[in-house]
Structure formats: structure tokens, C-alpha cells
Amino acid sequence: MGSIGKSFGTAQVLRNADLRLDAGEVLALLGANGAGKSTLMKILCGIYRRDSGSIQLDGQPVHFTRPEEAIAHGVRFLPQEVSILPDLSVAENILIADLPLKRTWHGREVDRATLNTKARELLDRLGCDLDPDQPLHQLSSPHKRLVEIARALAGRARVIVMDEPTAALAEREVQLLFDSIAKLKAQQIGIIYISHYLDEVFAIADRIAVLRDGVNAGHFDAATASRGEVLDAMLGTSVDQLYPPRGTNADEIVLDVASLSFPGALNDVSFSIHRGEILGVFGLLGSGIDQIGRAVYGALGPLPDSRITLNGAPYLPRDPQQGRDSGLGFVAAERQREGIIPDLSVAANITLPFIDRFAHFATLATQRENDHVQHWIDRLSIRALHRNQPLRLLSGGNQQKVCFARWLVEGLSVLILEEPTRGVDLGARQELYLALRQWTEQGLAVLLISSDAEEVAGVCDRSLVLDRGQVASYFKGGSSPAELLDASHFHQENHT
């Protein structure tokens, strides 16, 4: 792809972006949110039309105006969200575009034997031994991903673009995907890999291309480049440290969980958080990290058997209203489904949990609300055209800042965060970490729950590791990502 340009209205998203992909190569495409990665890829795959520039495939100029044309030329786009048909079988999902048919006495019907054989062959190419007859909804997320890739292979794909393919995967599951990518490389298929995770990129990519503000900001050989170089290229300014320095803790305990259980997920978990501290909870998928935060907050319903003390008084989780009114705040992992109110304005989203504080009898006090909102928009540098813009129009990182800002009011004791920076670009991540540290210095306690070992090791003052619903170990003071992974039985499970 050469000198690609693209504008939306007055916003020029791409200027002179270049990209080269060789057969049998994994090219990582990096860039902060809004750098133009997705736009460039959508142009390649015929979803958007380019304003300028050229694309050559095997030396031939091509111009795809519809996704179907790109697919016919073997160029496939796998979006971030898995697009599968949950009620159909593995084989049907793979060959949906070209189901083998056979003649029977009542017309034509799907030839199941051929279907399964063909699907089997394609799955073999990925080194994957799924049962072709199994319905998709029974599969785990990484296997759904593999089915998607097999579908691309069925269409004789030669270039596969993967947009954050591991966003919903736990680290153990990522390996499954990486093994298949290695197999694809050996079959001379070129892969463009978009990701926010530097670790992954260095593990899988041959070359790294960085976009910034719609132009190329650097090309690196993954074998020789350093993380610092790549980060600098992405962010423009030199990022010495993604994570802020650690704070000093007070001794006063804010939240003391003596015993917390939830059927099938948590078994007698105990921990405590001090004022001004960030306590990390690390674990793999299914370890209980999906439940621990919301159980305390009350989002899982009443837990009468729990023994929890909050600010020195007994606290029983009941429902989110009770959690909120007791001084707990909660930011859920699934931002789109459980975080943002897409149609409400940025302002209304921020004031929603504590709307009572902005009401004067029955009427909302517009001025007070606007002042509060503007304060946090400035402090967190939330990039919105206006505070009355609907939240759905903001980028993921800015939406997440809004989800944080909701809880930043007088009287909040503990902020519970699930996967606080999932799908958030590096620039916004750095801003969020820094802001978190500032609030803890003012006495806020934070429970940071994450499946990103780097994040927990980098941000948290103390941490604990969950494994199969129980606390596997506590780390006082710092911990390294490797220690956390070790404690989570990551390695043991991989070897058995």
C-alpha cells in the first residue's frame, strides 16, 4: 500500500501511509487510538474507499470498493469482536460461504460428510483438533477465533488482518492462537496483526510498523527493536515510564474482607485494603477475577455469608445501590455492555451515580452539574467536542475516562476497577494510571482487578493472585509479572 490518504468530513485520518507485507510474514501494526490503523486496514479490505494512494497485490494494482472484492482476492479482515453463528456447527461456520451440496430425492441438501471432511482439513492446517459437529456456542473464545481463521482459509485467504485478536483472551489461550499463526506463516500466508499489547507483538511479529496521526512513524525489525523505541514512535514523545511511581501507604484499613464466597467462583477469599493504596488482584480466566470485584460491590446480589468491614462498620453486599451508598465505586470490565450509557451525554454519564448531589429538590442544578463535569473533563483530558456530546461518539479510551470520572466525588472510599485499561490506547492508559495515583494520594483506596500481569505488577502497591477461586499468594510490596504468572499456576497448566 503506498501513500494512502483518507478524510472523513474535515478530519484527515490518513496522510501518505505506506505498508508492505511479504508472504509468510507477520507484520504488527501499532499506533495509539486514532492513529489511523483501523482506517488503513478498512481501506485495504474494501470497507472504506481511499482518497489517494495505491494498493498492489502480487504486483498488480487493485482497488477494492466492496469487502466482497477483497475477499475474492484473498484479503480477509477479522474484526475485534468474533463474528460467528452460535447455533451452527464448527464445520458449518467454517464453510458457510460455500456449503457443499448433494442431490437427494427431495432436492439439494447440505452434504454433511463432505462438509466435515473439508472442515477437518482446514482445521488441520491450523493444528487444531476441534470436532466439526460441535455447535459454536459450546466453544471457548480462542477456539471461536480459530474457527474464524479457518473460515478465512476456506476462502483461500492470502492476507489475513487481525484486529486485536487477543482482546478477549486470557494469556494461556493466547498461545493457542499463536501456534496457529505460526502454522499460517509456514503456509506462506501474510498476516497483519493489530494489538495494544507490546509483549504479544514482540512474541509473534517479524516486523513492526507504527502509525501516528495518519503517517508512518517507524518500521522496526521485531528481533532487534527495543520496547522503548517502539513506544516512542507510537506516542511521539519519549515515554520513560508507562507506570507512575509507587505511593506511600497509610496503615488505616478501609476495606477488610475477612471471608467472601460466591458459589462456583470464589471460595473463602480474604484481603484488606489500606487508605491510599492500590491493591492488585491478578488471575487467569476462570480464577475468580471476574467475580471478586462485583461480589464486593453488590452486583452479584446479596451475599449474607460474607464477612466484610468497610470503614470500620460491617458491610453486607446487597445490590449496586447499596454498594454505591456505602462508599464503593465500580468500573466493569465490559465497557460497551456494562459501562457506558451510549445515548446519554458525557456530562449525564459522569453525574449519573450521584445525581442526587446535583439536584435541587426535584430539579437538576445545571450550573453545579456543568462545573463538576467540566472540572473532570479538564483534569482527565477527556477528548470530547462538548460535554453534551453523546458518549457513544467518543473513543474507547475517552469513554473509559468517563467511567472513572463518575466515581470521583467526595466520600468515595474504595474504587473497584475491573480490567481498567482493556482496549485503551497507551496514551490514555498512562493518563489513567497517573490519575489513579493522584487520587490514592488523597486517600482513595483502589482495588484493581486485571488479567494483565504487567499492569498489576506495574501499578499496584500490593497484590494478590487468585487461582480457582482462592487466594494463591499475596505479594507485599512489588511483584514482577513473572512472579504473578507463576503464582497463578500459568506454567503448571501449560505443561500438563
Binding site: 452486583a299 449496586p320 451508598d325 465500580f330 450509557i341 445515548d343 446519554l344 449519573l352 451515580p353 430539579t363
Partner: protein, 315 residues
Amino acid sequence: MLSLLNRPGSGVALLLAFYLFVAILFSTLSPWFLSFDNMMSIGANMAFIGLMCALQTPLIIAGGLDLSVAAVAGLSGVVVALLHAAGINIAVACLIALALGAAIGSLNGLLAVRLGLNPLIATMGTMSVIGGLALVLTGGLTKPLMNPGFNWIGSGRLLGLPVPLILMLLVYIALGWILARTRFGRFVYAAGSNPEASRLVGVPVERTLMTLYTLSGVSGAASGLILAAMLYAAAPDAAGQHLLTVIAAVILGGTSLFGGRGTIWGTLLAVLLLGTLNNGLTLMDVSSFWQDVTRGTVLLLAVGLDQIRTRATGA
């Protein structure tokens, strides 16, 4: 054309433009159309429908739907007529009818919110039950309802304006204020836009919807009273045929059936537009069968244009 449609708020602007177009068209075709009396008669005739639309709008914004509202109107008129015929004080009879509306609304809420039934199915069920009950109670016959005080609600005038029109406008003003300026209004939009996220920040999603279903039932009952007062009689099936108009007006006014978006003023404009269309076509002696065709076409056009606009902006 598309760039014009891209502007924010163009949905309402488009509706207003269409309304003016229709009004000018009819005023050139019929000398009576623009007269004060005719304008007032449009308002009075649409008021009982507008009242049902007024509460249906926040209900749909919050992610609910009430198909039984017009059937409640029918039953409420019948109940008042029967109670009045039995010698019960008309004011007491009206209160009983309104309470009945609230009870049916709560039942809808119970089914759709607490039991989690699909609101389309749940309220279709109650619609059928209530419509049937109204027929059972009257044997399918229209019951006369003459009471000067009561009939004033439907056909009286206050300061030269029809009473039903005044009642309807008061409800719109109150709701406009509630939706834009109160905590409850925020909850309505939040619940419809993303119920799970709303619940997680402590918004009382279920209570908000329960309240709206109950109020929708009350609006149905009130609207039945106005209709019976206008007609000097209660017909069990008089209001049921207007259900489609109610839903059409709310959607035409820009409220999203998926919840989260819409305004009460868009609905008011749509109510007036549909009323004007009916009135103009009647003045021009177009058969009422053709009026159904027109109303449906306008609805499809408006929703189709809105869809094109949404796709163009990607918003």
C-alpha cells in the same frame, strides 16, 4: 439532500417542514382548513390519542412498550358508563376508572419488568384480555353517558380552547420538564440506553420502568374518559383502533424503539401532523379507508428517511 439530513436535530426539523407543507397544501385546497374552529377541532380530536402518546414516549425511551393502552381506554370508558348507570357519583366513577388503569399498568409492569416477559407479548396479552372484558361487560353495545359535568371534559371550552386540548398540553409540558430537568428523566434515558450499565451505577432501572408502565395505564384510562365525554357514550371498541396511531406517532416523533433516544416534543409534533392529515383528508372528502393508507405511508417515509440519515452520519 443528504448533507441537509446530516445535521443534528434534522429529524424534528424534517417533521416540522413536512407539517408546514401539509398545512399549506390543505389550506389552499379547503377554505375551512385554516379557520380557528377547525384548528381547535384538530386539537380536540387528537387530544385523547396525544395523551396516550405522551406517556408511551418515556416508556419506549426507557426500553418498554405498552400495546394495551388503547384497550385500557376502551375499558375505562365502559366502566365509567356502567358505574354511572348504576347510580354512582360520576367523580367517584372516574377515580375508579383511573385506579383501574393504574392497576392494569402495574400488571403490565409486573409481567414485563419483574417477570422479564417480552413487553410486546406481555402487553399484547393484556390488550386482548382487557379488550375482551370491555366487550363482555357491555355485551358489545355502546353505552350512553350523559352528565353535564363529565361531558365538559370532552367537549367543553376554557378560554376559548377545547378542554381536552388543554389537558393534553398540560401533560406534555409537565413531561417535557420531567424528562429534561429531573433525576427521574435521567433515569428514563439511562435505563433505555443501557439497562445493565445503569443498574451497575445504582440507577433504579426496574422501579423506573414500573412507574412508567403504571402511568401508561393511567394515561389510557384518562384518555378513555375524555373520549367517552366527547362522544356522550362509551363504546367498548372505540379506542382500540387507535393503538397503531399511538405507536406510529411516537416513532414518527423520533423516539427509538430500541430505547435511549427520543423527545416528548417530537411526539407532540407527530400527533399534530397525524391529526392534521386526518382532518385535511376528511375536509377533502377522502374516504377514511384512504386515510389509513396515508398514515401508514407517512410513517414508513419518516422512519425510512431517519434510517438513511442515521446511516449517513454513522451516529
